[in-house]
């Protein structure tokens, strides 16, 4: 395991428990099920440049739950730097929500004026780490709330890799000082698609860095696993969550279902299963 210094800001983050990503089509069900949801994650982009009624709804949600803003398009990996306008809007949102932390991805989504429209993996090389660290510094200058970074899936084997994925992730976390939002499903999918042991991978990450988890079901397509956020969570993924919760003092876990919504009882069953796993390892009550 890599030796690293954990910033006090990460150690003092509160334990939030079990929650889910807020989605408009599930609005009614989410609001009617307060006892099973400890906190909500909101997709920041769904609230930017919105009318006042949307912001008022956000205030209402905040009065009921702790909210964690989750960004999609800051493009922290972009070599050309951040989009200042987007960063300003994101800053306004995070300040309004006043969360214990916020999150973004280890990815780039734009280059030379072209928006890719999705999270794209960075080449695992030093230039990527340097650019990423510069951008994180700029973001943290604007948003003082602790930032945690999420691992993504990758299917394209880029020609410019200089190191293994775990080395890249470890160095990036170490240099930025950020916590990790470990997407357990993405870890599972990458391990299947690239042929490694996810638990061995996990053990290369300092446990105190792992602040929050994401999970949802993955799906096989054309012989490869993909993360389309539209499936019920498989047992293999719950087993991996169990391993992560045993290994790391995780503060919260979020079910990240985006589409093909099942009956809400299926969602609550998955939340309960995650809660039970956390209780087993005394991560939350």
């Amino acid at each position: 395991m890599a030796q690293t210094t954990i910033t006090p800001a990460l150690e003092s983050l509160p334990v939030l428990g079990v929650g889910m990503g807020y989605r408009d089509p599930l609005r009614k069900e989410i609001l009617q099920y307060p006892e099973g949801i400890d906190f909500l994650e909101i997709t920041a982009d769904n609230f930017l440049q919105s009318p006042n009624t949307r912001w008022m709804f956000l205030d209402d949600l905040r009065s009921r739950y702790t909210l964690i803003p989750h960004g999609l398009n800051l493009s922290l990996g972009s070599a050309e730097g951040l989009n200042r306008e987007y960063l300003s809007e994101l800053t306004e949102l995070v300040q309004r929500v006043n969360p214990p932390w916020w999150s973004e991805h280890i990815a780039f989504t734009k280059a030379e004026g072209v928006e890719i429209g999705h999270l794209s993996p960075l080449p695992f090389n030093r230039a990527s780490i340097d650019a990423f660290c510069d951008n994180v510094c700029e973001a943290q200058d604007r948003i003082e709330t602790p930032l945690i970074l999420e691992n993504i899936t990758y299917t394209v084997d880029l020609p410019w890799h200089e190191m293994e994925e775990n080395k890249f992730l470890g160095e990036l976390l170490d240099r930025t000082g950020c916590g990790l939002l470990l997407d357990v499903t993405n870890l599972f999918i990458n391990s299947q698609n690239h042929g490694y042991d996810p638990v061995e991978f996990l053990k290369t990450i300092p446990p105190e860095r792992i602040i929050q988890l994401h999970f949802v079901g993955g799906m096989m397509k054309d012989g490869k696993w993909i993360d389309n956020h539209s499936q019920n969570t498989q047992d293999d993924i719950f087993q991996l969550i169990d391993s992560v919760l045993q290994y790391a003092p995780v503060k919260g876990v979020i079910l990240e279902r985006d589409a093909n919504f099942p009956p809400f009882t299926t969602i609550t069953d998955e939340l309960k299963r995650a809660r039970d796993l956390g209780r087993k390892h005394e991560r939350w009550a």
Binding site: Q49, N73, Y86, E112, I116, G117, T155, V156, P159, W160
Partner: protein
């Protein structure tokens, strides 16, 4: 080749079919922007057809998922032709901005209109659905707007029933005058429908 150039090349590879095709066929790009050494060229060629194209297709699929939410009636009417049409539309046209899903959907309606909607839609009245949903998008994308459109029947009900994939959805009911009003970017779009109280059946 620096990171900036690598990312620029990847962004184009993921979002432009013509760029991918040219690189695959000639080993160089249209604008000469991608200068690869031999090892990089070999590696990129090995992933171009399979991995990069798969990723590019998954991006288009993701965009289509969002567009279906923005144009539910129109997409329902396009049925099995939707994927081919959207793929042709999106192959060389990336999205942009926080409201890119709205913009993408609106641009798709422009594309459909240029393709001559009568060739695409089986029934003439279906064009009204696209006009109705397109006006909603234009209103949502405006900071201020007042838009008034007339329709031969109850267009909102028809679009909703199509969106729910109701097999018996028909364009019927009294004529409608639909009004969209937005007075500022911070206000939501206000919408009214006017129709005559009496109308012969």
């Amino acid at each position: 080749m620096g990171l900036k150039e690598q990312q620029a090349a990847l962004a184009k590879l993921y979002t432009s079919q013509s760029y991918r095709e040219h690189l695959a066929n000639s080993g160089s790009t249209l604008d000469g922007s991608l200068e690869l050494n031999q090892a990089e060229q070999v590696k990129l060629n090995s992933i171009l057809e399979d991995e990069v194209t798969s990723f590019a297709t998954s991006l288009i699929r993701k965009r289509l998922g969002q567009v279906k939410n923005m144009l539910p009636g129109t997409c329902a009417l396009l049925g099995e032709t939707l994927w081919d049409l959207f793929q042709c539309f999106a192959a060389n046209q990336p999205t942009n901005g926080v409201k890119r899903h709205l913009i993408d959907a609106r641009n798709f309606t422009h594309y459909l209109a240029q393709k001559n909607a009568s060739e695409i839609f089986n029934v003439k009245d279906h064009k009204a659905v696209m006009k109705y949903e397109q006006t909603w998008l234009n209103s949502e994308l405006s900071i201020r707007c007042l838009k008034v459109s007339s329709f031969r029947h109850d267009i909102s009900n028809y679009a909703q029933r199509l969106a729910k994939r109701e097999a018996v959805a028909t364009y019927s009911g009294k004529p409608r005058v639909c009004i969209w009003l937005r007075i500022s970017g911070r206000q939501q779009v206000l919408y009214w429908e006017l129709f005559p109280r009496f109308w012969p059946k």
